[in-house]
């Protein structure tokens, strides 16, 4: 069923910070049809490949349906009592700072609000931090330093109206695909110039007029150089600087100390960029993790903000610095104060008036008066025993934090750990004493705030499975059981939201930016029907841009230039650790893949973790395509598939961050990254680890597919879902003598396989059939396995007589690896279409093949294929 004809429900996508509106139609059997909401201002109906596949991520097979205590299924009453008791006892014995919450940018605002209120107002500690610490903490710090508040000045419309968009450390095409499409459309319509600043070439560079392959970690020097250039060329808006800012001279002096030469960029390219920036009034500088995830992240943010302040290009149409967040509700977390160094409603923990106002509003016994432990420090405190009771909600720090190995050890050793999540099958949940079943996207009811301050509702379209409960309700119930019945007597998310809005009104009266008091007396029905709207939302103001009036939230009302100078990443390359490891996202996966790995469609794009490495580095290391490489640092190691590409910066390979103990245990990148942090924001430096790389000398490589589960015994394995089951890449460092036995263990079968064996070449292929249908197969070789993987994966459940040939016969065409996930269009299909046309255009090829006609996320890749194969054809 496609859900058409069913009543539709408007909601918001749970992935990145673009915050796209979706329309959901339950199919009546537990699924949802998902389409973009044409009325949502963030996406106007568009969705990316991940959003479009949301309906495929709702299976309940891995869901936790009842609380688990000590590995044994329990009931809510016992589990909640246990949690409340243990937290209470720990606090009584060791003080409020002996407990901590580690929460998530995927929680809804209501969840965040209740958790934050419980920790800061009632437990009385500020030990609540969030995975947003890994995402945009440096931006928060930079904003607050410059603006006196964590305010995103602009709106998405600025991308439509800019003449120059500078993308710094942002692979917008893959990480915020709908915004990228929006920018691409604006560029097509008005010729917007696009400059991409990124050490590696990404899909985003497809629309770049200029790509500055900057040396990792030198952004401050680049923007200080720009500030100097602006000053030297008369491009500074002297009047604006004089009227609305402070600290300009110090900033200029600091900037002058930096040389842009350390960026490693050609002088001509730098000059081009500086000139373009200086001459273009309507400039938006979009920045993301390449800026934030750095030990100098806050300084990078301020170096960018300095340039906008110097030119007065802020808060005006088509102008301004623009942080794009990585999570659906990173902004909501900031608004509720769900970070260790915030209070609530953009109020300051360090400000006694603010604390008093919040304490009064909450009728709280106490309010934390100093910053709590930020993520990295929090888990260090867990590790050294200062934190004795820990509650992790909706996030997977055993994978995602730097030094993840140590983090996992810390969680394991913590006297009492609670995890509330959708599934118990995460690396983190496996370590917990208590696992509580939480509702997930599609079941949850509440609100989120996207990167341009637009508050949208997430609405429930499906019933909560089993005993799963909303996170806000779980936190509230524990609050009540800890003795604060009145303060946590919420019956529904709207009650939480009204309180949150009311508190923001108090913040507004204290002169803060975040004020949605206009929503504080929403009726239940109005909340249910709440349309997306951008804050502030007060009696006098609704949405729009900030700072257009030149007034900021600092004590003086002036924006503050920050005097910043280049600081290299904490870890310095050495002879032993000569490479700088970049990390990040891929197009079709999200975080630790607990949701995206459930859909075969999204697993097709990149079905295993990889190390993207420059050809010169690969050659020096003796790495060949599809080899495996071991990447190791002082803190840990990972085995990754070698993907040799000139896209990678020389000396700075890239690895995706998504794979976990569930999907590729040897390929977790978190353990490799040392936990260096920005001294101001506490954000870890996850893109500049120094590592050594060597070829992983596998005795054998394997590729396996199975209708059922697999139990790999292999040094390296990576598992992904297919339409008919699972697929896995395997490699081992020990010779296997009996492959039939190995395969039977892997597939948990006793069946007699079909066998192909070339003993002299050590090639073995085995296929298991049940009632003439392919049940499982493995292909083994001493070299990286050559198999038509899509073909083999698609053969599961079919007769597949000649499967062990490992490729289709002459009569069947192999579509090749998937480029377009939405429409399942393969690379070979695209190449055929491209080489069959005289002058192929992206539109033409997309029309002909269907690729890129849904979410459009793959269009840069289609363009790249055209460039390559159409050019080649012309040359021949």
């Amino acid at each position: 069923m496609d859900g058409s004809g069913q009543p539709s429900i408007k909601s918001t996508c749970p992935y990145c910070g673009v915050g796209c509106g979706v329309i959901l139609r339950p199919d009546g059997v537990g699924g949802l049809a998902v389409e973009g909401d044409p009325d949502h201002p963030a996406n106007h109906g568009k969705l990316c490949s991940k959003g479009l596949a949301l309906g495929e991520t709702l299976s309940l097979d891995d869901r936790l349906l009842a609380p688990v205590v000590g590995g044994i299924e329990s009931d809510w009453d016992s589990a909640l009592d246990l949690v409340a008791t243990r937290f209470r006892e720990t606090i009584d014995a060791h003080g409020p700072d002996s407990v901590a919450f580690y929460v998530s940018g995927q929680l809804l605002t209501e969840d965040y609000y209740v958790a934050n209120k419980l920790m800061k107002g009632f437990i009385g500690s500020a030990n609540i931090d969030t995975n947003s610490r890994l995402c945009m903490a440096s931006t928060v710090a930079g904003h607050k330093r410059a603006f006196g508040s964590d305010t995103v000045p602009g709106t998405y419309e600025d991308l439509d109206e800019a003449d120059l968009v500078v993308l710094v450390g942002s692979n917008l095409a893959w990480c915020h695909p709908v915004l990228y499409q929006r920018l691409a459309a604006a560029r097509a319509a008005r010729g917007t110039k696009v400059v991409v600043i990124d050490p590696r070439r990404t899909a985003t560079c497809d629309i770049a007029d200029l790509h500055l392959k900057i040396a990792p970690g030198t952004d401050v020097a680049l923007f200080n150089g720009l500030l100097t250039h602006l000053a030297n060329t008369g491009a500074v808006d002297e009047a604006y600087v004089a009227a609305h800012t402070e600290g300009f001279d110090a900033a200029i002096d600091a900037a002058a100390q930096d040389s842009h030469q350390i960026t490693g960029l050609p002088a001509a390219d730098i000059a081009t960029f500086y000139t373009l920036f200086a001459r273009t009034t309507r400039v938006v500088t979009v920045f993301s993790q390449g800026v934030n995830q750095s030990s100098a992240g806050s300084d990078k943010v301020n170096a960018i903000l300095n340039c906008h302040l110097a030119t007065g290009r802020i808060g005006q149409p088509g102008m301004g610095p623009f942080s794009v967040t990585g999570q659906p509700n990173a902004m909501g977390g900031r608004e509720t104060g769900g970070l260790a160094n915030m209070l609530a409603a953009h109020l300051d923990l360090e400000n006694a008036d603010h604390r008093a106002a919040v304490q009064t509003f909450w009728h709280a016994p106490r309010v934390a008066d100093q910053a709590g432990l930020k993520a990295v420090d929090m888990f260090r405190a867990v590790g050294d025993g200062r934190i004795k009771a820990l509650w992790i909600a909706c996030t997977n720090p055993a994978v995602s934090l730097p030094e993840a190995g140590a983090v996992a050890d810390a969680i394991k050793a913590c006297p009492f750990t609670v995890v509330s999540d959708l599934t118990a099958r995460t690396d983190t949940a496996r370590l917990a004493d208590v696992v509580l079943p939480a509702t997930g996207w599609g079941e949850k009811d509440g609100s989120v705030t996207n990167s341009d301050r637009t508050i949208s509702r997430q609405r429930a379209a499906l019933p909560a499975p089993g005993g799963a409960r909303a996170d806000w309700a779980i936190f509230a119930e524990v609050g009540r059981r800890m003795g604060w019945e009145a303060a946590f007597d919420y019956q529904s998310p709207v009650e939480v939201f009204r309180e949150h809005a009311a508190l923001s009104g108090i913040a507004g009266t204290l002169g803060r930016d975040f004020d949605i008091s206009g929503l504080s007396d929403l009726s239940d029905a109005e909340y249910d029907a709440l349309a997306p709207q951008r804050w502030p939302i007060t009696a006098t103001r609704a949405g729009g841009r900030f700072f257009g009036d030149g007034r900021f939230f600092t004590p003086s009302g002036r924006a503050r230039f920050q005097a910043v100078t280049h600081r290299a990443p904490v870890s310095t390359p050495s002879d032993a650790m000569p490479y700088r490891l970049n990390s990040g996202r891929v197009r079709d996966q999200w975080h630790t893949m607990t949701r995206t790995a459930k859909t075969p469609r999204l697993s097709r794009h990149l079905a295993e973790p990889f190390l993207q490495i420059h050809p010169a580095d690969a050659e020096a290391l003796g790495l060949k395509p599809a080899d495996l490489a071991r990447v190791h640092s002082a803190t840990g190691s990972a085995i990754l598939r070698v993907l040799i590409s000139e896209d990678a910066a020389p000396g700075a390979p890239f690895a995706p961050m998504h794979w976990t103990g569930e999907t590729a245990p040897a390929a977790r990148i978190g353990p490799v990254i040392a936990a260096a942090t920005d001294p101001i924001s506490g954000q870890p430096e996850t893109k500049a680890a120094t590592v050594a790389i060597e070829r992983f000398d596998a005795a054998w490589y394997g590729f396996a597919v199975s209708c059922g589960a697999m139990a790999p015994q292999a040094t390296y394995w990576a598992m992904a879902r297919t339409d008919g089951g699972m697929r896995a890449e395997l490699a081992g460092d020990a010779r296997v003598t009996d492959w039939v036995r190995y395969a039977r263990d892997l597939f948990q079968t006793t069946a007699e396989p079909v066998v192909f064996e070339d003993a002299a070449h050590r090639i073995t292929r085995l296929a298991f059939f049940e009632s003439d249908r392919l049940e499982a197969a493995i292909f083994v070789s001493p070299e990286p396995v050559a198999v038509a993987r899509e073909f083999v994966a698609a053969a599961l459940g079919t007769p597949a007589a000649s499967l062990l040939a490992a490729r289709p016969g002459a009569e069947v065409k192999d579509p090749g690896p998937t480029v377009c996930s939405c429409m399942s269009v393969g690379r070979n299909t695209l190449i055929d279409a491209i080489t069959g046309q005289a002058a192929p255009s992206v539109d033409g090829i997309c029309q002909a093949t269907g690729a890129g006609t849904s979410c459009g996320s793959c269009r840069p890749e289609v363009a790249a294929l055209i460039d390559r194969f159409a050019l080649r054809q012309a040359a021949e």
């Binding site: 007029d209 990889f610 066998v755 192909f756 064996e757 016969g809 480029v819």
Partner: protein, 438 residues
């Protein structure tokens, strides 16, 4: 003036020779046949036995055919002597027939193991229509024993079993058809036959044949097992039928020796078919024998022709079992095996490679690609470039090498794809220049 050609034997080789000669003309032909009939396709006796075909359907050249071509047929008349000096042959009736040229095509005789009792009534070979008819005459639930688990023995067993006869195969070697199949394929074949209800005893040596009223009653094995039977079929091999030639003083080794023109040690005497030995090789399959008939015809017609003994493949049909073997598939240090086996479907294939060339092929259950492999054995094709898919046959050849990067291949590793979007340096420079001008 036409010359006279005498042919001894009207088997498949002779039939083909007569076709060639009578089409060309210039010869009168006399054709002796010990069997009282014309030429039929001996290979097809098994389908006749199994009831899939009738005798009429397997006749290739009957009396009418020869009559039409002016051939004098002396069917049912065994030749008893050749006088090479007088250039005559003498048949059973004692009349000498003169020849200008003589072709000996006496074929082969089945080998009968001289076991005690081998001359009892009901002990037969499997060679001709008469033997076939004896087997067909057995009634349901009567018992037969076949000695010999080679092709012929198994076809006899399968054919009789299909008629409801209780059949036991006794085979000396460890697995069936050891000359054509390796052990694994032999095992599959045995499994198939046993599955049908045929009893198969391998590694079994026969000791004696017991009789009653001078009629066969049972076979006794070395281990003492007694296998009761109403008919005992010996199918343990054939020997070139060379007695007549030997008596005539022609040079005979294992077979009647011929040169590349199919001429024996007597320039006026040629020989073709299963009776000949050519450079040490004997023949049992139809393809080279037809080739011999053609070469002999050309020799007789004064044309240059040379017989080349090409690699021969065996495609065997034990009713319902598909078998193919070609070349050499013994194991050896310098040999590499590629094996495919599908026990559920009863398919087994093995290719033996030496120096990147196929030297042997065994297939059971699916012989579709037999001819293709046979061609590569003959042509000594270097298969190193197609080794990964070779055993899956021609339908899997021709594609490019597979990219092992497929799992991560949406990010193709090729430098020119990823390196700045395929743009050349100059294109990129001009993009920069455009910006500077802006």
């Amino acid at each position: 003036m036409t010359k006279h050609l005498v042919i001894i034997g009207a088997g498949m080789a002779a039939g083909r020779l007569v076709e060639h000669i009578t089409e060309a003309g210039g010869w009168t032909v006399t054709l002796f046949n010990a069997e009282p009939r014309g030429t039929y396709d001996r290979i097809m006796l098994s389908p006749v036995l199994a009831g899939d075909k009738t005798y009429a359907e397997i006749v290739t050249h009957d009396a009418a055919f020869y009559e039409e071509r002016g051939v004098t047929c002396r069917f049912g008349e065994r030749v008893t002597a050749i006088d090479r000096v007088a250039k005559t042959v003498t048949g059973q009736d004692g009349v000498a027939v003169a020849y200008d040229k003589l072709v000996i095509a006496t074929g082969s005789d089945p080998f009968m193991i001289p076991l005690p009792g081998h001359d009892l009534e009901g002990v037969i070979a499997y060679r001709d229509l008469e033997d076939t008819e004896r087997m067909m005459a057995l009634g349901e639930s009567q018992k037969a024993v076949v000695i010999g688990g080679g092709l012929l023995g198994l076809e006899a067993a399968a054919g009789m079993h299909a008629r409801g006869v209780d059949v036991t195969v006794v085979h000396l070697m460890g697995h069936l058809m050891e000359r054509q199949l390796d052990e694994a394929a032999g095992y599959l074949l045995r499994k198939e036959l046993v599955g049908r209800g045929i009893k198969v005893l391998c590694s079994s040596n026969s000791k004696e044949i017991l009789g009653q009223d001078s009629k066969v009653r049972a076979l006794v094995l070395e281990n003492g097992t007694e296998l009761p039977c109403d008919l005992l079929v010996m199918a343990v091999g054939i020997r070139p039928s060379t007695a007549l030639a030997k008596d005539a003083g022609l040079i005979v080794g294992r077979g009647l020796e011929v040169d590349d023109q199919m001429v024996t040690s007597d320039p006026d005497v040629l020989a073709i078919g299963e009776c000949v030995e050519h450079h040490g090789a004997l023949f049992g399959l139809v393809a080279p024998i037809y080739e011999q008939a053609k070469v002999a015809a050309q020799t007789l017609l004064g044309e240059d022709a040379t017989f080349v003994n090409r690699e021969t493949a065996t495609k065997l049909k034990v009713t319902g079992c598909d078998l193919f073997s070609a070349g050499d598939f013994a194991e050896g240090e310098d040999r590499e095996d590629i094996v495919f086996r599908d026990p559920a479907r009863g398919v087994y294939k093995r290719l033996v490679l030496k120096d990147n060339r196929i030297i042997g092929a065994v297939m059971y259950g699916d012989t579709t690609d037999g001819a293709w492999f046979h061609g590569m054995i003959k042509d000594r094709t270097d298969v190193s470039g197609m080794r990964e898919t070779l055993i899956f046959g021609p339908a899997f050849q021709g594609g490019g090498a597979l990219d092992p990067m497929v799992a991560v291949a949406a990010l193709q590793a090729d430098a020119d794809l990823c390196g700045c979007n395929g743009r050349t340096i100059s294109q990129k420079t001009s993009a920069t220049q455009t910006l500077q001008a802006a």
